[in-house]
Structure formats: C-alpha cells, structure tokens
C-alpha cells in the first residue's frame, strides 16, 4: 500500500500520466485508489493534435492497469520520508 499512500499525498498536484498506448495527459491529480486508478481534473493532452477526440475532455478517470508512468512535480518527493516508509514497508510494518 506504499504507493497508494504515496499517491494520496500528491492529490492536488499537477502530474503527467503517460499511458501504455503512448497517450500522455497532464492534469491536477484529483484522487487515486488502491488499484492506482487515477482521476485527473483540468486535463490537457500533451500532443493534442494527435488525439483530436480528447479536445473536450476536461476531467477523466484512468484505469490503473494502463498507466506506464506518472511524471511528478519536482518537489513531489520527499526522499527521506519515502526512504523511511520503504524500509518500514519492507520490514512488514
């Protein structure tokens, strides 16, 4: 559940989600669940010209299983806290 908790901390931040079909969407992280499904708000597609059907989509739900990357804001990671949390998780706590 580490990454779930981690993504919950990022709610409200601007992220770019790249999907396995190469579609990349930038938007404000609205919510995330235990499958790492993601809801974005105020979305815009990075290569809008290639995906004209996405023009009027401003809020979207992305199924966790199709996500390739999530690009985070530079200040999105507190490495020390993540480090500690990872060790704790690895110990099974």
């Amino acid at each position: 559940m580490l990454f779930f908790s981690y993504f919950k901390e990022l709610v409200g931040k601007e992220v770019t989600v790249e999907l396995k079909n190469d579609l990349a969407i930038r938007g404000t992280l609205h919510s995330v669940d235990q499958y790492l499904n993601i809801k974005l708000e105020n979305t815009r597609v990075v290569e809008q010209d290639k995906y004209p059907h996405m023009l009027s989509v401003k809020n979207c739900f992305i199924r966790g299983s199709v996500v390739r990357y999530v690009l985070l804001p530079p200040d999105g990671v507190d490495v020390d806290i993540l480090h500690d949390a990872t060790r704790r998780e690895a110990r099974g706590g």
């Binding site: 079909n21 579609l23 919510s31 499904n37 004209p52 059907h53 199924r63 199709v66």
Partner: protein
Amino acid sequence: MLFIITSLTDYFRFECIITIIVVAANSNSNNVIKAGEFREQEEGMSWAGPEDIFLSTSLASYLDKKLLVLLRDGRKLIGILRSFDQFANAVLENALERIIVGDLYCDLPLGLYVIRGENVVLIGELDPEREELPANMIHVSATEIKRAQKAERDATDLKGSMRKRMEFLDLE
C-alpha cells in the same frame, strides 16, 4: 458484473436483461476463471459512500453524463454512463463509436453497451460547453470512413513490408 446485471433491472426492459444474462452464462461455461482472479473479483469492494463520491476515484460522479471511453484496442466509444463497478465495467446507453481517420470522422450508433472493465483505458467526461472535435474535421458517412480506414491500414502495412525488405541495409 453481477452488480451491473442486477442494477440493469432498474433501468431496462426485461427482455434486454435476459439477453445479457444469457451472454454472461455462455462466457462462464467457456472460460474457466482462475481461482486467483475470482478472489480478486470477490475482494476489493471499494464502494465510496454517497458523501465522498466527488472526492474518490469512483465513477459515481460521471453517472448519467456523456462520456468518452477509450478502449485498449484504440476504439473510442461515446455514451451516457448508466452503471459501473469497481473493475470499471460500465454500461453505456445510446453508445456510439467515433471513428477518426486523419481529418475525417464518423459516429456509428451501437445502442446499449456493456463494456468489460479490463478493456477500458480511460473514461473522460465530455464538456458540453466545448466542441467535441476541432472545427477543421469533416463528418463523413459510414462507408466513406470504412474506406478511409482501409486505406490507412493498407498504407501502414505497406510501410511495414517496405521496412522488412530494407532490413538487410541495417538502417537505423
């Protein structure tokens, strides 16, 4: 899926439900669900309560809205969301498939669609205030779009076979 079928009883005519259940029964006899998968379907009920639907990942806030559903094979379905569950199985009413080839597009009406969640890539809310497609796109008939689709497919096939023939040149 069970939930969707039961919830359909609220919305649709009786004959319609019978057909869906028959489909579900057929697929059950054909595909043996592995034990692990089955457990996954049983657990993980993440029902958001009514008070937090707008804060959660639940699709409840999209109910009765016009949505664009992208599928894994690249198809684009548009319809009104009537039901869903935690796997993103979804029921679309007045569904249509939007086929886009270059600047041409066509909407093929499909009717009532139950989409299995694993095929869903993205579900987007279509903002009624905005244009769904850029102004330069041209609406064409179903036959024309089929022809354009075929031409595009042939072009990519040709490209692929050309590359194959040139492989001995070891181009990068």
